[in-house]
């Protein structure tokens, strides 16, 4: 019963998100699209020297029960959900795959193409779509509202300049940017207390968010040795080493289980590029 | 016909006080309200949150400030002396006492700066490193009130320095005492405010 619901809602989410943002960068269902979009910018990189990273975020054990969201005071939004009503999105598991994990190369990247294209963050039926979004520093984030009611978008980064803007009606858009790498930037809507999104800002295009099935793929990564970090809002971070070869596909998967809940979840950490070594290092603010 | 044309009355001449002095009195009324606003807020906040205040002397260095208070009171005396000298046309007295007043005021400021540096660098309050304006209501009210008083002293010292320079040029004399008197009014006011602040901030 429970997993049936998750399948259905994840599928619904995917459809809505696809319709709304046309496969914008970093959206949860379109990790591949995301990498694809980074490709033109990576034109300077010799195609013969790049590879792909792909893998899964796996979830083992009991899937925690998500709380129901009481949207009864917002009938228009509530109508967008099935009989079970809207549920929280903290842990979305489908067939053993964990969605909404933000994966990015945290060490080993030397130089990166500039940001291009825009990432999209939509508000659909009083939820953020996608729930977790990755962007490159300086990249445009196009925030739009598909609900014909008030949302405010209150981003509270620690390294970047935050913003608190509102979109009172459907069709209003706003373009924002984060200039500095920061994992993660929490985004909330103060009108609807349950609405929460996370934006991971890194200063290269090698990142992805796992889709509903838990899979991700990052294309056009220059060959080399890297450390990857995976971030999840409930389970914290874990890292993996990965070696990318020209024309090859490297695999890196992350295994989660319910016992990891309550782990330290990094928020608002700056990512600092060490120029001497060209390594990116996480600088904890807390 | 209370207001009918009435001629031949003795014309009114305003107060028998020269304009600059009236102006300074009026201005000081405004200053009273400014400090009343700050001190009133302090009282309200302190009553509302009594436990966030330190015991007198725990954080603040009362002896040093008491000495500083003494300096400021002395400067009021020398200010009076300067005015008296001016009235008598005693050029040497004018120079001496204006200079003394300026120096005492400047010393007061110097001690206050020293006090601030000590507080910010070496004191702690409720676990914070250094006693700063961000250190609770206690720090906020302390620095706001003494800071604005210090700012007033600074303005006074600048004017006094200027008056002293003029004294050396022989500007003041028995026929030209107004400037010193008006400046003296301001200086006594600043002194008086400090006595109030010293009592409520340092001693209570």
């Amino acid at each position: 019963m429970r997993s049936h619901f998750w399948n259905r809602s994840a599928a619904l989410l995917g459809v809505v998100a696809m319709a709304a943002c046309g496969g914008g960068g970093g959206s949860s269902e379109g990790a591949a699209d995301d990498a694809g979009e980074a490709a033109p910018a990576a034109a300077a990189v010799d195609p013969a020297s790049v590879g792909t990273i792909s893998g899964m975020a796996n979830f083992g054990g009991m899937v925690p029960t998500m709380e129901a969201i009481d949207m009864s005071a917002e009938a228009d939004c509530a109508a967008g959900y099935g009989a079970d009503g809207p549920m929280a999105q903290n842990v979305l598991v489908s067939d053993g795959g964990l969605a909404n994990v933000f994966v990015y190369l945290s060490e080993g990247v030397s130089g990166a193409p500039a940001a291009s294209g825009a990432a999209a963050l939509d508000q659909v039926n009083c939820r953020y779509t996608p729930h977790v979004l990755g962007v490159q520093s300086g990249q445009d984030i196009e925030i739009s509202n598909s609900d014909n009611l008030l949302h405010n978008i209150n981003a509270t980064p620690t390294e970047n300049r935050g913003f608190n803007i509102s979109q009172p009606r459907a069709g209003i858009t706003s373009t924002q940017r984060f200039q500095v790498a920061e994992v993660m930037v929490p985004v909330r809507c103060d009108v609807h207390g349950w609405m929460q999104a996370y934006i991971g800002v890194v200063d290269h295009p090698y990142f992805a968010v796992t889709g509903p099935d838990g899979s991700y793929s990052i294309a056009n990564v220059p060959a080399g040795d890297y450390t990857m970090t995976a971030w999840h809002e409930e389970f914290g971070t874990m890292t993996a080493s990965v070696t990318v070869t020209a024309g090859g596909t490297a695999a890196a998967s992350f295994d989660y289980n319910g016992e990891m809940a309550g782990a330290d979840v990094p928020m608002g950490d700056a990512l600092v590029l060490e120029h001497g070594t060209n390594r990116i290092r996480v600088e904890r603010t807390q | 016909m209370a207001h009918a044309a009435t001629a031949g009355r003795v014309p009114e001449r305003g107060l028998d006080v020269y304009t600059q002095k009236v102006g300074m009195w009026v201005f000081l009324c405004s200053e009273v309200m400014f400090f009343a606003g700050l001190i009133g807020s302090y009282v309200v906040l302190r009553f509302g949150a009594a436990d966030t205040w330190a015991e007198p002397g725990d954080v603040l260095n009362v002896p040093v400030t008491a000495f500083n208070t003494f300096l400021l009171i002395c400067s009021s005396v020398t200010m009076v002396k300067a005015f008296a000298a001016a009235q008598e046309g005693d050029q040497r007295g004018i120079k001496l006492y204006l200079l003394l007043t300026t120096l005492l005021g400047a010393t007061f400021l110097g001690v206050q700066v020293y006090e601030y540096i000590e507080l910010v660098l070496h004191k702690s309050w409720q676990g914070s490193h250094g006693f700063t304006p961000a250190a609770g209501l206690y720090g906020a009210t302390f620095f706001t009130m003494t800071g604005f008083h210090g700012f007033h002293v600074l303005l006074g010292v600048i004017c006094l320095a200027w008056a002293t320079i003029r004294a050396w040029r022989g500007h003041w004399g028995a026929d030209n005492t107004h400037g010193i008197e008006v400046l003296g009014l301001y200086w006594h006011f600043v002194d008086l405010v400090w006595i109030i602040l010293f009592t409520i901030v340092y001693l209570i």
């Binding site: 009481d70 005071a73 009611l149 008030l150 608190n164 509102s166 103060d190 009108v191 | 016909m1």
Partner: protein, 223 residues
Amino acid sequence: MDWALPPNYSTFGVVIDQLFWIILVITGIAFLLVEGGIVWFCIKYRGREGARAHYTHGSNRLEIIWTVIPAIIIAILGAHSALVWDDIKGSSNRPADALEFLVVGKQFEWNITYPGVDETLGTADDFTVRNQFHFPVNEDITILLESEDVIHSFFIPELRVKQDAVPGMTIPVWFDATQTGNFEIACAELCGLGHYYMMASVTVHSAADFDAWQASQAPAAAQ
């Protein structure tokens, strides 16, 4: 265009509305006197060639009359207002065994904590519902009003209730609805960009309906 006070559903509303209409009548008479007088004077004493105004500096008798009469009216109004105000807000008139709710305003939601079946706040069966305020009719209701962030104002027009919610304070507000119905809580104090949207539904139930509603919510809270 219907310029009227919304229908009243509370015990306090009766006196408030009464006072409103009393003041409207008094000020209405004053309004007609003043505006009528001005128009009349403008017509009657409009300038004519060769005319000369009546020379007078005033009349002490008139001054006394139009000082004393407004003062008396105002003293009566003031005394009446003060009594009504004390009835409504005086802390000695706070109902002793009212049903208590905790209402917390935050940008931009009203979160209402219900006392649960035991009718006591602060116990395990309390539960919190966003933007929905249900309470029984004909019963003294006291809300403890708080705010998480900025100043909000709790306003239910039909119940003639308005009280600012101030962060750092818990302010008791009491009222008694006389009929069942559905209303809204509005925020009446500018609280940020979502101020206009800070709205919650109010449902006044019959006692039985309220118990039923509370029971329907309780299982979720009991977990």
